[in-house]
Subunit: 365 residues, 2 copies
């Protein structure tokens, strides 16, 4: 089947680009001497997770227990659930999962650790946990340094869990104004966690794992001495958000939404058959990438706004565009875009090589 | 099963409120003497569509051909696809659908009508179409008045289609600053289409259907003499967007996301286990409903931002909140929220009465 045979809108993955992206991040980790545990929330696909592991990832990260279950079903057996598990239903499922996969958890509270610890006691072995440290995002975690070290020591005292490391997510890197600021955030991310680890070790708690690094910060953070693991996610596909940060280019973006021009109501306006229910409303726009997505090879087309199923744009200068033409659009935020599709189409040189199931989509619990 | 037995995050529908909302809009249409063809993009559920038809809707509206197929599979047989169908794949599917359901289409271009007309000629009967008119949203359609009348006359000349009416969507009503402006937009929406219809009829093209009205404008538009059909969608559930417009209150919002408090990293901050992958990033916030959703019965809790799986908020004043507590959050934009779940739970008096499949979710083609 050819790309032209796909109905629209479809999520299309360029396999050459995907494979190159996977290989390059594996090389970054290998050369820095750190482990790579990619965050699979970007693709939610056991097939792509397997490609990452085959390229050298030592395990994977997931955002939700339901995603972990899907990945374990597919034979991925070294999982970090980077989300606190709270409540008896989740703890029951965690217990079952621990019987068939290696699972570690991140959390930031003694009470959450106590729940997990009960599961560990039932199983007769400690559940490995990473204590989440706030390095500036102000989401999960106590402040880096003494507050987080004290928390780690308290959690280490909870029966049934073993503190194996510290973890952070410097999501505020996405707000960096320039490459210099991005580098500062990435370095501080690693240094803050290492400082916290030193305080833990000073109090007698050994910290084996220092887990940091998202797609924009992973390269810098991996190179900081003492870091043991990076967890980038978006790099497999990249998106306009990464282009804006200078991390990606149109050529390194692997995922696009294939859409059809369905209306030309005025000389300037065009509509495609995909809106926020194919792209999500995530992500900001503005120069140098104006619009709600980048139309591949067509800088003369700008997507001005989206409603649920309509993408509404305008033609720049002498641009021409007919109803029925098909466009490939790089989304602003690929993770939320992929999450709207049940499957993607893996394409090489315009030939559809295979369908890729987004099997963990919708596993929000 | 009790509400407390549901794992989180879950999409919860209060059945009493849903039934009341469905009944009230049916009464609005009945009393105005217009037909109700609710837009099912809000719920994507054949079960809820059936409730709407049982309450008096004469048919339903869908946004996509794939949604129409799901609804037809469930026995809903009077469908308006309010989206232009372009391309041979879609036209082939349309032909199949026309053999098992009454289907009308909206469109705004002669070229699109010609494709649909080929299907009509193959079937040996005209496909009924509504010509979309731009009444201020500047999405689909030519300007109301002469430009749209000329288009309707041109489309009426295409073999294989029959122009049965005119249609508009005044989505710009969502930007109305106050009830007066909303009323003006709703009235203009109807009057502009009626004016266009008059010009068509003056040129010898009878216009039987005047189809207008979204949730915020349906009541006003239905009362305008000459309107024949309203197509509100969001009213089944309502959301913060409708509360902001003065159309809904916390008590008339039927859909909430049930979430668990999973972290309390600081005295002021809390996190729930749902973010943009459970709520979407749609919708603006600000007074009088600050935050990324309204926590039912808890004005002392404000959701400040969401990442993909985390909802991050703060406590106001003397508020107290423990890890493990469960909250029900009214989404800013319910249509995009529902679209993230495979199923909802229908609840009455805190008892889970049934699971409701969001069967048309993901049918983006």
């Amino acid at each position: 089947m050819d790309l032209d045979d796909l109905d629209t809108p479809s999520l299309v993955i360029d396999l050459d680009t995907l494979e190159r992206n996977i290989g390059e991040m594996a090389a970054v980790a290998r050369e820095a001497g750190v482990r790579l545990r990619p965050h699979t929330k970007t693709h939610k696909s056991p097939e792509i997770a397997r490609m990452q592991v085959d390229a050298g990832a030592t395990g994977i990260t997931v955002a939700k227990l339901g995603e972990a279950e899907v990945m374990a079903d597919a034979g991925l057996d070294d999982l970090l659930i980077a989300f606190p598990l709270v409540g008896e239903r989740k703890l029951g499922r965690l217990r079952e999962l621990l019987e068939r996969a290696q699972v570690r958890l991140s959390l930031d509270d003694v009470e959450v650790a106590e729940g997990v610890g009960r599961v560990g006691k039932e199983l007769g072995r400690d559940v490995p946990v990473l204590v989440e440290v706030d390095t500036g995002l102000h989401r999960m975690g106590r402040e880096a340094g003494d507050p987080s070290a004290r928390l780690a020591l308290d959690i280490a005292g909870v029966p049934g869990v073993e503190v194996v490391g510290l973890l952070t997510h410097a999501g505020h890197a996405y707000r960096a104004g320039d490459p210099g600021e991005l580098r500062t955030i990435a370095t501080r991310e690693a240094m803050d966690v290492l400082d916290t680890a030193e305080r833990c070790e000073h109090e007698g708690l050994p910290i084996r794992e220092i887990s940091v690094g998202s797609t924009p910060t992973a390269g810098v953070a991996a190179a900081v001495d003492g870091v043991t693991e990076i967890r980038p996610g978006t790099y497999v596909f990249n998106d306009v958000q990464q282009m804006r940060l200078g991390i990606a280019t149109e050529e390194t973006c692997a995922a696009t939404v294939l859409a059809t021009v369905v209306a030309r109501p005025t000389a300037e306006r065009f509509l495609i058959d995909g809106g926020t229910k194919s792209f999500s409303s995530d992500g900001g726009d503005g120069p140098p990438f104006p619009g709600r997505g980048v139309v591949v090879g067509r800088p003369d087309l700008v997507l001005d706004f989206m409603s649920e199923e309509h993408g509404v744009g305008h033609l720049v200068g002498d641009a021409e565009l007919r109803i029925g033409e098909r466009l490939q659009v790089i989304p602003l935020h690929v993770c939320s875009t992929v999450n709207l599709f049940d499957a993607a189409f893996g394409v090489r040189d315009r030939v559809v090589e295979r369908e890729i199931a987004i099997a963990a989509r919708g596993k929000v619990q």
